[in-house]
């Protein structure tokens, strides 16, 4: 997790990321892939979950505040877009804007008192908030209550963020979402806010003794993280064509935010992508293969995997990759190596 950040400007690893995004942009040109609807679906989900995890990473990984409440922000974003389309017959875009702002506002309002809580008290408070919002949305008539919102047929295209025949439009949207969120986090990493955020994580009092307003930093990180989670939620509802409280505002969804990031490697730029790239195909393919075997075999495998990774390598997949890279680079002094990994 220790990476040298001397030269704020473009570095070798940035070129790697740009190349990756360019490569991914070429995927829809490969007809073998686009013909396989399930594969496209998996790729879209990978990009979506990587984006969600990266949004969480801002406050959870870099900020060190483990929030289990992100499904609330995801849900607010989803409902924002959904309400615009279903309840008001508009294009989703204004709803997306409102949803993101609302998510950020809710995040600041609830985390301000929550930040006074330490450790497990904080984590449990975030569970409590998810459950409260879940129940509230279940009974709230305006947002559709327990039935949620079902999308009507609308005109295809970017204006409505809707495509019916092929998944290519969604794929590009997901790619843009991914590039946007990863780009934001990469930017923050190299600039003052990113340093202040990590300093607060490493030692709040120490950071304050160096002039860092830790409360402002944490709240800003939370607001940004929530707004981006909301944006992901908006994409989700446009892709899924329906939303209800159980689907988005649930503890399970919150855990997905946390798990993908932690298993991938919290506090690193690549972690969210690594986590999504490993977990989503695992989830989707085990469900396709074994989901029919009578409940939960895929989740049994998932559960075991979580236990193994968390116990063996708390730094996640990114930690595993780093260890392997270290061993290849300097087999002689792999133990006492002075090189610091890049990711």
């Amino acid at each position: 997790m220790v990476t040298p950040m001397h030269h704020g400007a473009l570095k070798r690893k940035d070129l790697f990321w740009l190349a990756l995004v360019a490569l991914m942009a070429l995927v829809p040109a490969v007809s073998v892939i686009t013909a396989n609807s399930f594969l496209m679906h998996v790729l879209i989900l990978i990009l979506l979950f990587a984006s969600m995890a990266q949004a969480w990473n801002i406050i959870g990984g870099y900020g060190g505040q483990t929030s289990f409440g992100h499904s609330v922000f995801f849900g607010i974003g989803a409902y924002g877009a959904g309400m615009a389309v279903v309840t008001y017959g508009l294009s989703p875009w204004p709803g997306i804007g409102v949803g993101m702002l609302a998510a950020a506002a809710v995040a600041v309002l609830i985390s301000y008192p929550c930040f006074k809580l330490s450790g497990h008290y904080f984590a449990i408070a975030t569970f409590a908030i998810v459950e409260i919002f879940n129940r509230l949305f279940l009974v709230w008539y305006w947002v559709g209550g327990a039935l949620g919102l079902d999308y009507p047929m609308v005109e295809e295209g970017l204006a409505n963020l809707m495509w019916y025949d092929s998944k290519t439009g969604y794929y590009y949207c997901a790619l843009v979402l991914f590039a946007l969120i990863f780009g934001i986090v990469r930017f923050l990493e190299g600039h003052r806010f990113g340093y202040y955020l990590r300093a607060v994580r490493e030692g709040q009092e120490t950071a304050e003794s160096l002039g860092v307003n830790s409360t402002a930093v944490k709240l800003t990180a939370m607001a940004l993280s929530a707004a981006l989670a909301g944006l992901c939620g908006a994409f989700f509802v446009q892709y899924n064509l329906r939303v209800d409280p159980g689907m988005v505002m649930s503890l399970d969804m919150s855990m997905k935010f946390v798990l993908v990031t932690i298993l991938g490697g919290a506090g690193t730029l690549a972690g969210p992508l690594l986590g999504a790239a490993v977990l989503i195909p695992l989830q989707e393919y085990t469900r396709a293969l074994w989901g029919g075997l009578g409940g939960g075999v895929d989740l049994i495998v998932f559960g075991v995997l979580i236990i193994v990774i968390v116990v063996k390598q708390p730094a996640g997949i990114s930690g595993i990759v780093r260890d392997i890279a270290k061993r290849f680079r300097r087999p002689a002094d792999a133990k006492g190596g002075t090189s610091v990994g890049t990711a």
């Binding site: 040298p4 300093a199 003794s209 160096l210 506090g267």
Partner: protein, 252 residues
């Protein structure tokens, strides 16, 4: 006008009085030492001045403006920056990044801050460790990191809390050089110290705390002879014996 004025500061923890109406000033350009036996309240005073603790009574002024009760980040931004006695490196960040966090206080522009960080790292002899994780440094390195990081904030007043503790005598000499150099750059220093050979040679004035009270103040050579100070450190009996021996010699 003094750069730092501590006026009748009292700090209580429940019934325990850690600082009892302590008053002193620090003028710009000075090196003031804050000494006293263990438990005298030196670090507590530091914590009050830097805003980590709220004072029970009394007022604190920095650069003429009142800072009593301000949060510690505000005081740091005004130019009064402290180091911690038990070092607090930001463990999962590199040495360079640690210092950079300090440098960003007065150089929001990345390039400017990075230059400042690099020069502070050079100054404190940490260049070879720049890319290493701060948590992996040896204790001497961690102390220098604490100093470099505080320096990078371009403070007007630098408050050092027992930087010499645990250093070898070579390291102490190097640290003294560094402190003199810092003063030459125009930074005022308030230094809590236990190691007498480290503080007496460089301090312009020394303030002595004992049991939470300011018992003596003055230039180092006068303080050494002050019987209250000797009594505080070595006990009243020894002080009396010393006093008696001195009188013998002058009478002889």
């Amino acid at each position: 006008m003094a750069l730092l004025e501590v006026r009748d500061v009292t700090k209580k923890f429940g019934e325990l009085v850690a600082n009892d109406r302590v008053s002193f000033t620090v003028d710009a350009g000075e090196i003031v030492g804050l000494i006293g036996p263990n438990g005298a309240g030196k670090t507590t005073l530091f914590n009050c001045v830097s805003g980590l603790y709220p004072v029970t009574a009394g007022r604190i002024f920095f650069g003429g403006a009142e800072v009593t009760g301000l949060p510690s980040y505000r005081i740091a931004r005004m130019g009064a920056v402290r180091t911690f006695q038990v070092v607090r490196p930001l463990k999962d960040m590199t040495v360079f990044d640690n210092v950079l966090v300090g440098a960003f206080l007065h150089g929001a522009g990345g390039a400017q801050a990075r230059e400042a960080a690099e020069s502070c790292i050079e100054l404190c002899g940490l260049a070879e460790y720049a890319d290493k994780s701060a948590g992996d440094l040896p204790i001497g390195g961690k102390k220098r990191l604490e100093l470099a990081r505080a320096l990078a904030t371009r403070p007007k007043l630098l408050m050092l809390d027992e930087v010499m503790a645990g250093l070898t005598s070579t390291e102490v000499k190097a640290a003294l050089e560094l402190i003199r150099h810092i003063r030459e750059k125009g930074i005022t220093l308030l230094i809590v110290e236990h190691v007498m050979e480290a503080i007496m040679p460089i301090a312009d004035r020394v303030v002595v705390l004992d049991g939470g009270i300011n018992i003596a103040e003055g230039p180092p050579d006068r303080i050494i002879d002050d019987e209250r100070v000797i009594s505080a450190y070595l006990g009243a009996k020894f002080s009396r014996r010393l006093q008696a021996k001195r009188e013998e010699r002058t009478n002889a």
